[in-house]
Symmetry: C2
Subunit: 310 residues, 2 copies
């Protein structure tokens, strides 16, 4: 990561207020949204440009720590109305969130406008928003080195043609295993990944939550486990924090070799593991570079084996 | 694996007839049982001594391939009555078997008698049978180097005190994640493994099926993913084939260092991945040493990354 300076990462996503209940406590109106989590995580590695929208009720001062970490908020629109709010609950197993309330607010009329100074960002992450908006972003940017997107079950159901169209224009997609199966109608993840690659992306990253993540390319499969944490406090934002570490690391190194991509998956997994240790983006923001490095080394220990069978 | 000859592995477990239905086909009255799967797999690495019982209806000639592979069947009792039969079905996701019928037959009166020539086997695997029988085996063997056991939900419910007693006498236990949670009443697998280690075993191997396996020791955690197969045909016996590869490899090397134990988990994972490629123990029996070595190398590629973050 020495040498050339880190490239900028443009992220377009939601900036929300979350109210979360887990077996360990509850938090009301804390920072949430895919854009927020991604930016918080990626900011450890590269300059981040965040595009999104909040209502006039948003506590923008709470975004100060992101600015301090080098996140450029000049693409964050503030408009009349209520901010996007999500309220959810995790049961004992922490595996899946139960959505109790979703209020899109100003987000329902959001049309992303990419500021001129962001349009040539070499790395672009289209966080989990309507595929039509993700496509609108791509019309405004200029030849990025890498375009990645995320999605979710809601868009797979309601915007399938637009999502398939999007796949033709991205280099990489991150999605979870259930979403991959839903999108491709394939139970087997190797088949699902191949189906997606045939639609466009060169890289398919399938996140399995506590069971780790796969990165598929045309001729290789890489797997990184999730870190076996002793206490998972709040899983919200783990996937976007993973993506932030992953894309942020690639932007930091400006290297898209298989070797760098594998490292990036591990860095993403490390960031995802920090995300779940506290509510909101709290732990991801405060974590030090030394702690990130230490966790990456722990990942190394977790899977390390040498083998001479014969 | 050169140098000293492989140690013998004694396995006490079920020898059954399975009838299995998967989305890809069905097989009636094929070889099944924890002892059969374990022995088939371990036989690639070490001499195996199998103790179990079959009824007078058992097609013992079907066990010939095990003998050919060096499995000593002189501890296999044949008695009047019906053999243990299991009939099960896997739905589309192949993750869990639905048991349609279980007939214990002669197995319900089984009292393991370890032949004199098996009693000093250095490696002992107590496959998934009644913990009271597992304890009876331990009364008959002489100071093994390593005693490992498996168990299942049925014994955790019905024989909890005996199972806890057993834990004090084994060095290693293999069980799946749901069983670990049920036994320990801990959701978190790190906590569950620690709880089990406090009861006796130095090694706790938690199998997560398609999500891989953890090996916990007092001061380390190792994780090996499951191999991302393109087609899983029949998951029956994957766990026992894993254990056979794992214990067989340890017996082959006579090495219980952390390094060897990690290798053993990977060899076990490789054998588990072969087990699911065909019905019964068919693929495990026929696989060549070169194919095993190649798959272990593929595991290496699957998790390999190098990392210098700073």
């Amino acid at each position: 990561m020495s040498g050339s300076p880190a490239s900028a990462v443009l992220v377009v996503g939601s900036v929300a207020l979350d109210s979360v209940e887990t077996p360990f406590g509850k938090a009301d109106n804390v920072l949430g949204g895919s854009g927020t989590f991604f930016a918080s995580s990626a900011s450890h590695f590269a300059p981040v440009q965040l595009v999104g929208v909040v209502g006039d009720d948003y506590p923008v001062d709470k975004l100060k720590p992101l600015e301090t970490r080098g996140v450029d908020l000049s693409g964050l629109e503030r408009t009349d109305g209520a901010s996007f709010r999500w309220r959810g609950r995790y049961r004992h197993d922490l595996n899946s969130a139960e959505t109790l309330e979703t209020h899109l607010g100003v987000f329902s009329n959001f049309r992303p406008k990419i500021p001129a100074q962001f349009r040539n960002a070499p790395f672009v992450f289209l966080a989990n928003i309507d595929p039509r908006l993700q496509l609108q972003v791509l019309e405004q940017v200029q030849k990025p080195t890498l375009v990645a997107c995320d999605t979710m079950n809601f868009w797979i159901e309601s915007r399938r043609p637009e999502l398939i169209e999007l796949l033709a224009h991205v280099d990489l997609i991150t999605l979870n295993d259930a979403e991959a199966r839903q999108l491709t109608e394939k139970v087997n993840l190797v088949h699902a990944a191949r189906w997606i690659m045939e639609k466009g992306p060169r890289y398919v990253v399938i996140k399995k939550g506590e069971h780790g993540a796969y990165m598929f390319t045309r001729d290789s499969i890489f797997f990184a486990p999730a870190f076996p944490l002793e206490s998972v406090f709040d899983p919200t934002g783990a996937g976007d924090s993973f993506a932030g570490g992953f894309i942020g690391y690639l932007a930091a190194t400006n290297d898209l070799s298989e070797r760098a991509m594998r490292r990036a998956v591990v860095v993403g997994s490390a960031m995802g593991s920090f995300a779940v240790e506290k509510f909101s983006n709290e732990r991801v923001l405060e974590v030090s570079r030394a702690e990130i490095d230490a966790r990456v080394q722990e990942f190394r220990q977790l899977v390390a084996f040498d083998m001479e069978l014969t």
